[in-house]
Subunit: 435 residues, 2 copies
């Protein structure tokens, strides 16, 4: 048998403890698949005596993460601490030291992936991160490798389980956002401080990672237009129902024509949107994740599964571990960062979207004409308009054709200022439909 591969695990929380468990339990299979035994070199933790989900032999535990990654017998470092620091410094130190790295750290990759990828390139080592997006769902490897001969045109993902759980509750029970959030917290699907999920920060980091891979272009979290779900109302969800649609928080990365340029640019955004119930993403329930990929030759693909959780995320980490361990042993590398296309990342205003707008209006002649005029002034063409109720309940529901987000936003601004408009009750983008 070949000499063992030594693995250092940084962090022993819900993911780290499952990684440690699987490395132990699957030892025989890992050895067969890697071509050498895989052994733990050490597990870096904050407190040696903290309670944890798995028994780690005391001699493997250390609070000295920096010392662990500097050891010259460590072949692969698995970083599951999360956050920017000390994770970044530890990963850079590991790579410099000749180790290959597997990480689940979406925040760090989306903020400063370039530094890490350049270090990996320089060191001639792998930096793999399947677990950073959509937990156990294999999506990064298919984008990077399976679709390497195709041209991806759009990625639409439900990549945050917390918000999907909340929106699903709102859809099935008619609850408002606050009640649905409370239920999600009670069931452990949302944290006490739900900001990162609810405001779309988590999804935006994943969107940046997906966009970078899909379009071979460096995209950071700062490039992602981000809107959360805190303002989604029960009325929005009802409006969606009436259109046989459902509200989902989508991470969207797509190629779009860039004004005055020959080559398309990249639009990356996270926001709630209505999608038709017939769309494969509409049936993604509860805290599940799914990523829908459109490409020129393959057509429409969907990848579905648990987007979070210790064991599922650990499964993704271990898959990467087997790959990088094989490469490490053979002295080769897998596919590194690919940013050759270097496309322009477009501002949200230039992105072409569709809007669903519900407007409480005065019930008098000429209202529809006035509203239609407002759309026309901004060169937004209307696909459908539905008039509902009479008198004080009169409502117009307008769905636009595709237009720039800026033109649509300006239209809504103008509607809000019109005398005949009592209130714009719901504004939401519409995705997943054909023009």
């Amino acid at each position: 048998m070949n000499s063992p591969l030594k693995v250092a695990v940084l962090g022993c929380g819900s993911v780290g403890s499952q990684v440690v468990r699987l490395i132990g339990e699957q030892a025989d299979d890992l050895a067969a698949r890697v071509g050498a035994p895989v052994e733990l070199a050490g597990v870096a933790v904050r407190r040696i005596d903290a309670p944890r989900e798995v028994d780690v032999p005391a001699e493997l535990l250390t609070t000295d993460a920096a010392g662990l990654v500097a050891r010259d017998d460590v072949d692969v470092v698995i970083e599951v601490i999360g956050g920017i620091e000390p994770a970044r410094t530890l990963i850079l130190s590991a790579l410099e030291n000749g180790a290959s790295v597997v990480t689940a750290n979406k925040a760090l990759l989306a903020e400063d992936g370039a530094t890490l990828f350049e270090a990996a390139e320089k060191a001639g080592r792998d930096l793999y991160y399947e677990a950073a997006v959509a937990g156990a769902i294999p999506i990064l490897r298919p984008l990077r490798e399976s679709l390497a001969g195709d041209k991806v045109t759009r990625v639409l993902g439900i990549v945050n389980g917390t918000t999907n759980f909340i929106l699903d509750k709102m859809d099935t029970s008619g609850a408002g956002f606050a009640d649905a959030l409370e239920e999600a917290q009670a069931l452990g699907y949302a944290e006490a401080d739900p900001t990162a999920d609810v405001e779309g920060f988590d999804a935006a980091a994943k969107a940046a990672i997906l966009a970078s891979l899909a379009f071979h272009t460096r995209v950071t979290a700062a490039d992602v237009h981000r809107e959360g779900i805190a303002d989604v109302t029960a009325a929005d969800v009802r409006s969606a129902r009436e259109m046989d649609s459902v509200v989902k928080l989508l991470a969207i990365a797509e190629l779009v024509p860039a004004a005055g340029e020959e080559d398309p640019g990249v639009s990356v955004r996270v926001h709630p949107a209505m999608i038709p119930r017939s769309h494969p993403l509409a049936s993604v329930r509860e805290a599940y994740n799914a990523v829908f990929v459109e490409s020129e030759a393959a057509g429409q693909l969907m990848f579905y599964g648990p987007g979070a959780g210790g064991a599922p995320t650990a499964s993704a980490v271990l898959g990467d571990l087997v790959s990088v361990a094989r490469h490490h042993r053979q002295g080769t590398r897998g596919v590194g960062e690919s940013v050759y296309a270097d496309r322009a990342v477009l501002p949200m205003g230039e992105t072409r979207t569709r809007y669903h707008v519900a407007i409480d209006v005065e019930d008098r002649a000429g209202v529809l004409a006035a509203v239609a005029h407002a759309f026309a002034e901004h060169e937004v063409s209307i696909q459908t308009v539905r008039q509902e109720g009479r008198g004080n309940d009169a409502q117009l529901v307008v769905v636009s054709h595709e237009a720039t987000d800026a033109a649509l936003a300006a239209t809504v601004e103008q509607l809000r200022d019109m005398e005949i408009v009592r209130e714009v009750t719901s504004v939401m983008r519409v995705e997943g439909t054909e023009e």
Copy 2:
């Protein structure tokens, strides 16, 4: 720039012509992703002057496939002829000659994959075949690499578009098999001779390939228990509807306890089965494919997309091309055949399944007891029994708990011989439900 990689394409039918088109159209992207230009060395066809979907420069066309794979300037051979011979001889010759191979040939891999994999191993070259199962859907790479650190326990796939289209029509329109097949043929979803699809041969080949990868065990088409959909009746489909289920042709590969053995064995089968409408596979409509994977740590994953067609299949071929081209250039290999687990492949009789049985019975006292007795005699326990109609229309619908397929089949045999049983009108396995 590095020196170009030369690619020979064998076959220029619906897949081959799309491969040739994409190699041309995506040349810049392929060069960037491989790290060297990718050029066609030649395209082997049966007849030079046959009409084809893509313009191939005349100097590249040849009827001498054997001569093309023997050329010493060919780095990668793409085989999209299909069938056993001459495909096998050509692939073996290509590998011996030092080329890496990409193939979409499920029949050959399922019949004699071992010979090909051994030749690839000996030559130190890649043999990749993502396109052989479920067209554009990346499923083999995720099984082989993304889930390499996990333990797959079951794969449930809708891997034949023709039969899914037919069963979907039967479900939505109430049509019988013959009418639905005729519609599929009229729309180009079924061939004039539909045997390979309808009788499950195509799905069985894919099941063998999926099982081999999932369980690191050599499984051939001959190991797969195969039943087609020609005997599925409108009554079966109605029966499924009444159980809020739908009939699908499933390719199933799973780990099952083997009688008298400590290690589980592998059961691989293709047959129509009822699955609940709430199961993710139930919403796979028309000619789409999907593969549902259950594993210990990742949980339940699903991969969905177009399972056939020239361009989608070519996308999978090109993805493999990029991988093997990179390896070829670097003098490395990807993951080869992995059969270390070498599990026993169990006969269908030992496989544990559940049956749905609808029985026309005499309407008299004691019928239910007699039927229940027949199940009990074979140690098959009943989960639910529903009695419908009276008099000449009296029917019992029984759904069993899990039991060996042999015990269930014997129970049905006995029911057919009972005097109080007028007819066993529907027998179908039930999948995708929890026990």
